[in-house]
Symmetry: C4
Subunit: 188 residues, 4 copies
Amino acid sequence: MEAFSDGVIAIIITIMVLELKVPEGADIHALRPTIPFFLSYVMSYIYLGIYWNNHHHMLHATTRVNGRVLWANLHLLFWLSLVPAATAWLGETGSAPVPTALYGCILLFAAIAYTILQNAIVRCQGPDALLATAVGRDFKGKVSMGLYVTAIPLAFVNRWLSDIIYVTVALMWLVPDRRIESRIEQRT
Amino acid sequence: MEAFSDGVIAIIITIMVLELKVPEGADIHALRPTIPFFLSYVMSYIYLGIYWNNHHHMLHATTRVNGRVLWANLHLLFWLSLVPAATAWLGETGSAPVPTALYGCILLFAAIAYTILQNAIVRCQGPDALLATAVGRDFKGKVSMGLYVTAIPLAFVNRWLSDIIYVTVALMWLVPDRRIESRIEQRT
Amino acid sequence: MEAFSDGVIAIIITIMVLELKVPEGADIHALRPTIPFFLSYVMSYIYLGIYWNNHHHMLHATTRVNGRVLWANLHLLFWLSLVPAATAWLGETGSAPVPTALYGCILLFAAIAYTILQNAIVRCQGPDALLATAVGRDFKGKVSMGLYVTAIPLAFVNRWLSDIIYVTVALMWLVPDRRIESRIEQRT
Amino acid sequence: MEAFSDGVIAIIITIMVLELKVPEGADIHALRPTIPFFLSYVMSYIYLGIYWNNHHHMLHATTRVNGRVLWANLHLLFWLSLVPAATAWLGETGSAPVPTALYGCILLFAAIAYTILQNAIVRCQGPDALLATAVGRDFKGKVSMGLYVTAIPLAFVNRWLSDIIYVTVALMWLVPDRRIESRIEQRT
């Protein structure tokens, strides 16, 4: 399952760049229309990198898998697979309100799917398992979801605020989940 | 072979989203034309998820591989590789009769290819092997094929009935193949 | 190296289907223009399947790798990566003379690259190694190259004859390289 | 991490060929507009092959990984993911000054990212580790960066000189990093 998920995330992250249109024209001005897409590409790249990082750490701490976990994992990958299209729409419209809100919705659903997957793995492995103690009450996950829920309606008031929130959440997660990492290191 | 197949299915599942056109325009109405494609994307995603799941379980129960198995596997992947294009046609035409029937044909050929692969693996490993006893008479596989055969002509009478049949088959398979899973657990 | 090569071939085989245009229109006639592409897709799929199969067997019999082998491998993957574009051109022009000849050139260069890779691996492992004895004088490889060399100019006389030759070579290789397979089985 | 990186590079290398437009028309003249793209495709293919090769060697010599290394790796993959779009722009404009300079910038940033990754791995493993002694003062890396820095402004004076520099650097790296390779062989 780890290899398959890594594969899917690797493909999503790479396929996203296909949405980057080759500039029409050969001078420096031709690059301008690609800038908003480029910025949203960078943001989505970081988000997918975060998911890959944490997902990778989580699956490493996973020793048992059942059908529920497999489908929770596919559910997460489903929402992540929508990121490239949402990124392209966000970039092409220069972060218009509806695309900005939709982008937040997809991030929110991905975050929810991640939590469901986490719970499915914890339930499958028992409350004493490594992951359960490492995740704890998942404060960072809950804050992220709260911020997404704030950013989505805010896109219709001031879309730049929404973008700032998305960037903030990304920065908050840039460090891989030290809780799991440190626990694993303690054990080995 | 497992890694290659996982890779191919991972790519098919992800490439499918490339068919999702970025909406033209920046408001909520621009999203409307993408809804039928989105729905067919969800259905195909679930189908490919089911194939990945069961295929993965089947290959795990496989200990010996020969040339016949390798080609039966490539044959299955061939039909699965046509799913993205069929999904796009289904979505773009709003489930018109011909695309609906064609979608069913591809599902039918994939199901036949899966059965051929299953038989090739069983024959390669001998009738007493784990997989042979786990698969048994493959009731669920036969029912699915019967339903596809019904849905294909039905698309020209009432295409929504065909779509309902496709969704029903998907739901029927959403649970991974417990027959194999439980046998494996008994052994380990 | 095996995983990387498997990955690249898996991606090439899947990406090829992206060239398959979604039919414009929703009736049975809309499918017609896709038929020539579909046929060339089937042929290229089988060719790439053959390469995957034999390449996989060859790397399994490989125990030592050096820089020369790595680059010989990338060289083979380069020619295989051109197959999707050549297939699309062949299909879209209904097998016109130039695309038919170009398709043969790419098959020829891929075959030459495969031979170079084979020799590089044999040289790296020594003449007594498993692969060296298994490959022998590589009769089938030489016949294929001879047939490609015949088919390329023939495309300008009668392109259907060239297509028949391509199909013949594919059928000739459909069975995985039994020479290596049987030797491996003898040893294990 | 090795499998994920290999996967991403495999996808980037293959996706690049998607930018190769199928010629419009069926005769030999239709091939002409694709020649500049083809040449830039060959160059980028070799560059990505070099990165894959050296990256692969480096990760093989890596025994410990931390969060800093993971992100340094994603940073490198980010710049490599921009290579296909830059290649397409370079090819479509027949190596116009701005695309030529941009191509050099991406190569430069990728080279910097590779150095950062190398340092992060060395710091993570300690100065006595295999990689640290193998890399030494990284003369070849510094020369490459110097050449890129020269080639970028030169594109506005004589773009062909820039292209020659890019090809020269590629040739310089075509051999995998023997320093690491030979040290590893000494140890095993």
